[in-house]
């Protein structure tokens, strides 16, 4: 039987709590990985590894946390993302909520796209497609 959203959230919460060394109470659905939970680049690798183990899924490089966007000069203009960059990012991250980021796509605000919900959505999608 496929796990419910609630069950998925609880497992993701445990993974993030372990990976980031934070209390479970801090891992709310809307919490951002970097701003609220203190994650930084090296933690994203750890999170991917732990999610793969927990849910027995394969997460190809760049599928959960796109790494191409900051490597392509056509997607960045100074401190903002170009429209092409934004479209590419949206296509690469159907599991994220872009409503706030779209209004002002400043690159330094990009980490705000990575919330706990983003991860739960991603895992939900992966399990449904399996």
């Amino acid at each position: 039987m496929a796990p419910s959203r609630e069950q998925l959230f609880e497992k993701v919460r445990d993974v993030l709590s372990d990976a980031l060394g934070v209390d479970e109470e801090e891992v709310s659905p809307e919490a951002t990985l970097q701003g609220d939970l203190g994650a930084e680049s090296i933690d994203f690798l750890d999170i991917v590894f732990r999610l793969e183990k927990e849910f027995s899924i394969k997460i190809p490089k760049g599928e959960l946390f796109p790494d191409d966007i900051l490597n392509n000069p056509e997607y960045i203009d100074g401190d903002r993302m170009t429209p092409a960059g934004l479209e590419t990012l949206k296509a690469a991250m159907p599991h994220a909520d872009f409503s706030k980021f779209e209004e002002s796509p400043i690159v330094s605000k990009m980490p705000e796209l990575f919330t706990v919900n983003t991860i739960v959505n991603y895992v939900e999608g992966k399990l449904a497609a399996a």
Binding site: G38, E40, I42, L70, I76, V107, S108
Partner: protein, 168 residues
């Protein structure tokens, strides 16, 4: 890679408080991959800068006795914003506890008066020769180098040592 991240010590109260600067430049090798079109100082190195500032406080307070100083733990590390080439990272570290072998700190990193990182962390330190007698020669080499480096880091700010006073 040059791992000494602290460029200047600007405030120092012996055993209590230290403020240091780290300038971020495009010459830093790790920026080439982090990230190619948008270089930013890795978060772990923001924490490392705070750790190193704390280590200088420990060395000075313990008369440069410990040659080995390592991060023991880091808690509640939060990152608020990116630090980019051309920025000056200012780390302010307050000592909460200082024992001979361990110490605890609160650290705050800021750029242009905007907080970018905060952490509570602890260090472990010892003289290499105390752990292994044959390493005493290592201590003897490290000690004067460390003193000289500390003097150099403080000199640009004209800080006086040995008085426990800070000079802005």
């Amino acid at each position: 890679m040059k791992f000494g991240l602290i460029d200047r010590i600007v405030e120092h109260v012996r055993g209590e408080h230290i403020v240091a600067l780290k300038a971020v430049t495009l010459a830093e090798e790790y920026l080439a991959d982090h990230f190619p079109t948008y270089p930013v100082l890795p978060g772990v190195l923001m924490l490392e800068a705070m750790t190193q500032a704390a280590a200088w406080l420990v060395r000075d307070a313990l008369d440069f006795e410990p040659g080995v100083i390592l991060l023991r733990e880091a808690k509640n590390v939060t990152y608020k914003s990116f630090v980019r080439p051309g920025n000056l990272l200012r780390v302010e570290v307050t000592c909460r506890r200082l024992a001979r072998g361990e110490s605890d700190f609160d650290g705050l990193g800021s750029c242009d008066e905007q907080e970018v990182v905060k952490a509570r962390f602890g260090l472990r330190h010892w003289a290499a020769g105390r752990a292994e007698g044959f390493l005493e020669s290592v201590d003897r080499r490290i000690l004067p180098d460390a003193r000289a480096q500390f003097e150099s880091l403080c000199r640009a700010s004209r800080l006086r040592h040995g008085t426990g006073a800070s000079v802005r």
